[in-house]
């Protein structure tokens, strides 16, 4: 309970900050920044927080199902131009993935894989 309470509380604080400040960022991302700051300040991750976040992130895919089903209801909206949209999405997404992946790989310092290996073990 403790961990889920903290996550919801921080999102609530984030949403409130967005309401007051008018920042164009979702409240949940402000909540993420706040939790990160708390972890840096405490210098450790509470066991339960580690387990709860692991559970949520491992099952992240299911959380997009309700919104995805909603998209289908709006499909008639794009029916007339569906082939243009499909073509643009395919090309644009693949180009963005390739450019981003290649830039990160080329510019990352050598030996970062070694850090990956130690973190993973």
């Amino acid at each position: 309970m403790y961990a889920i309470f903290v996550l919801i509380l921080l999102q609530l604080v984030g949403e409130s900050i967005v309401q007051v400040s008018g920042l164009p960022i979702p409240g949940a991302i402000i909540g993420l920044i706040l939790l990160y700051a708390i972890l840096v300040w405490r210098g450790e991750i509470h066991d339960e927080m580690s387990r709860t976040s692991g559970f949520l992130l491992q099952n992240l895919g299911v959380l997009f199902v309700p919104a995805g089903v909603g998209v289908i209801a709006y499909l008639p909206m794009i029916a007339a131009q569906w082939w243009i949209i499909l073509l643009v999405l395919l090309i644009s997404v693949c180009a963005t993935v390739a450019v981003t992946g290649l830039v990160v790989t080329r510019l990352s310092p050598r030996g970062i894989d070694a850090i990956e290996a130690t973190v993973r073990s």
Partner: protein, 243 residues
Amino acid sequence: MTANRLVSGLEFLAATPLLWLALTLGAYLVAVAVNERCNKMPLLNPTLLAIALVVLVLTVTGTSYKRYFDGAQFVHFLLGPAIVAMAVPLYRHTEMIRKSAGALFVALGAGCVTAILSSVLLTRGLGSGRELWLSMAPKSATAAISMAIAGKIGGVPALTAVLTISTGITGACLASYVLQLVGVKDWHARGFAMGLSSHGIATARAFQENEIAGTFAGLAMALNGIATAVLVPLLIKFLDRIG
């Protein structure tokens, strides 16, 4: 009598939010099982399969989206806390993020501009109206951000929501193949490319590959949300000026 009982029982079932909550979770479990049976083939993305299954059931039973969402909202609601929870792996991998910060910063700029310009120029080039390409411009940012941007620049937020979620599904299904094709093997680079191009749905996919891929995908999603909010209005102004 028993027939009446049965009918009222079915009516109760269709009306209770529990049914649609159970359908959402059940469809996803089936989708994951199918995906695993097919060696976790990225094209058979569990989120996409689960959406297809739920849509099939709703269509066959003639259930409205509003009624479905009465139950499914409990799952939808957890998205916010899940995004907050991404702070945990980000904190765990701070050292790696710091070491690659320069590369990530350049990739953020290059990827964000590629996402915006490719979608706007292609949509325009194929002869679509201004409304569609304005709605298309912020599609790689997470839905809450892309809809807000669309509203501000004269696009249609509902249309942007559809395009954004379609972008997420496209990335989740195809990014692994593209990265393999161009020879990007490092987890951090793969994750960053997935999260930047196709936000949360591809981030979910990245977390299934590996925790590091997921972490960098989440980071890219957050950063690209902010970068898109800054760059879309600037690039649209620039495109309007050069005609």
